[in-house]
Symmetry: C2
Subunit: 363 residues, 2 copies
């Protein structure tokens, strides 16, 4: 479904207000929720910055990381949540059940935590076949076993037909943060190297191919996978990893922009080094998409000091989920907060954060 | 909306199957999801027992308690989740934002934990006014502050118009379980006393009154409240509390049936001791409802050894959220797994678990 863009109305007399709550700028330009508010781009960031953070006023949420790191009973824990509204529910390489596990497992791993327990909340739409729910639950259970996490607690709600889309799932997860690691976007520093763990853009194109009924020659299969094993191997080699991020909604471009802004560094990518499968490249050129903005569900970005990059890369390539790992760029002191890419012709172009949503309901 | 009951078709040739997943009995009688699967009664229990527990095969989930108790990094933690799909979003005494905090805070408290951190996942429907989202977020933030918990991590997804209902919220929570407490339904024992912390049936009737546009004389205001403070006071007095349960969906009747079955005891209620506000009694008799089955969002059931009941009751009555606490029954060795009530006329009637949903989307 195309995004419904509402242009600001210069004649609008008052900001939308509800019982004492006034819509802050710049959200005021879009007084209703549009798909772009869920796209992981600028509109999502505005919603978080101007609506949720002031409402929940606390320092943890303002960090905008994939998971919060908290201390409870002396334990150093990562805590994270994600809702999953992907359509279709089943796609090449997985289902909403796999995504619900791996999405949260990966968010925890990106804090340097070993994921341990998941919660799982289903919102079912009246009329969906129980066999569909059963198959998704089975996928979820299998994915949890594969990732080595336990589904410890759950909840099921049912909504009337026409108020859901078969199955929505929320998972939250807790994990134990490894002693001595300090992984945060703020730690990216000029001179650091940017590494991607493998081929980009695969999940998004897998979803689009089934949703739009388009074949791109070879079937594109989602990369949906749990990254906690890869991260554990990386931390064994390189405990001083600076940043980890899984580039899901909004893709590599959005994740790197968030890191550049948080750390106040520039990031310079080398276009020819980006590992992009031919099928993804073809599909993107057909659909008018940029692979840098397409969602991944089994890839991570790592930012590390230059003198540790070779050893880290070797470790990653020795792991099945990091076999195609590559250095794709570096952090630079110039243009802080901005991501640029050097093209094959030596030109430089800005890789901005997308405003709304390129591919709706991709996870 | 009325529940759509699908009668079993004796001519149905095969159980519904999806790619190797076969619908187990007794779910087979309802091959699609109906509202009753989310009602917290027998159909919900069947879904958990026959579909989710086998899929997630692990001992924690099979306990069917409000929250799981796990050990991580040496810390003894409670972990719980709930999704909220209540309609309307705003009602007398609160909103979906208040419910989202108090529902999960209370689930954690029912394990004897002090809730510490919440996650919060929003599923927004395209087209809902941002001022509505903002007001809900503000309510959620205020409720978190009141309960003394921190919203540590969050997520926002947007679904197309016609696939949501304005705002759905999932919260998960973690809390620290107090040393030395062992609160589980299995600990209810013959001779124990059953205590309710206050007036029952208020939340459900508050929702129904606005949803149906019915006035019952006085406005009925939801009892939505965080119970962790009350529980802390109770545990100071009575660390050996046997069972705690907040009777939400399905009401007091459903919670007590679950406890009776888990512990293998009978429970005998004394009808005249049930604290029921006059407005709730009137509304229930008008709507054909039994207050024992109506949802509460700020009440708890406590089961405790008889010789500790007086002291515990005094502590509860000294707390603002326990002022109307009352002994409503006892655990008995007869009829294990069954709840009965003694009527004012000396007769005894069985208080069974409801099959489906009396009041849909109450939380």
């Amino acid at each position: 479904m195309a995004e419904q863009v509402m242009l600001p109305d210069p004649a609008m007399p008052d900001p939308p207000s509800f019982d004492g709550w006034t819509c802050p700028l710049p959200l005021r330009d879009h007084p209703t929720v549009v798909m772009g508010h869920g796209g992981g781009g600028q509109m999502s960031a505005e919603l978080i910055e101007h609506l949720f953070v002031p409402a929940f006023s606390n320092p943890l949420l303002a960090g905008l990381t994939d998971s919060a790191v908290v201390t409870l009973g002396g334990a150093h824990l990562a805590f994270s949540t994600d809702s999953f509204v992907v359509q279709p529910l089943f796609f090449p390489g997985g289902s909403i059940g796999d995504l619900a596990v791996n999405g949260t497992v990966n968010d925890l791993a990106m804090s340097g935590a070993q994921p341990a327990y998941l919660s799982c909340g289903f919102i079912l739409e009246e009329g969906v076949e129980l066999s569909v729910v059963g198959r998704i639950a089975k996928d979820l259970g299998t994915a949890a076993e594969l990732a080595g996490v336990i589904v410890a607690t759950g909840d099921t709600k049912v909504v009337d037909t026409g108020h859901g889309d078969g199955v929505y799932i929320n998972t939250a997860g807790i994990g134990l943060v490894r002693d001595g690691v300090d992984i945060r976007p703020q730690r990216a520093a000029a001179g650091d190297v940017v590494i991607i763990s493998g081929m980009i853009g695969v999940h998004g194109i897998a979803i689009m191919s089934v949703r739009e009924g388009i074949s791109f020659g070879t079937e594109v299969v989602s990369d949906c996978a749990p990254l906690n094993g890869l991260v554990a191997a990386m931390l064994d080699t390189t405990p001083d990893l600076h940043v980890l991020r899984d580039p899901t909604r909004g893709g590599v471009a959005t994740s790197l922009n968030e890191i550049a802004k948080a750390a106040g560094v520039g990031i310079e990518l080398t276009e020819r080094n980006l590992p992009i499968p031919e099928t993804v490249a073809n599909a993107c050129s057909f659909l008018g998409l940029d692979p840098l903005y397409v969602a991944n569900e089994g890839k991570l970005l790592a930012i590390v000091a230059r003198d540790q990059a070779d050893e880290l890369l070797a470790t990653m390539r020795a792991h099945p989920l990091g076999a195609d790992a590559a250095v794709i760029g570096e952090c630079v002191p110039d243009h802080p907060g901005m991501v640029v890419t050097k093209t094959a012709f030596g030109a430089t172009r800005v890789v901005d954060t997308p405003i709304g949503e390129q591919l709706p309901r991709i996870c």
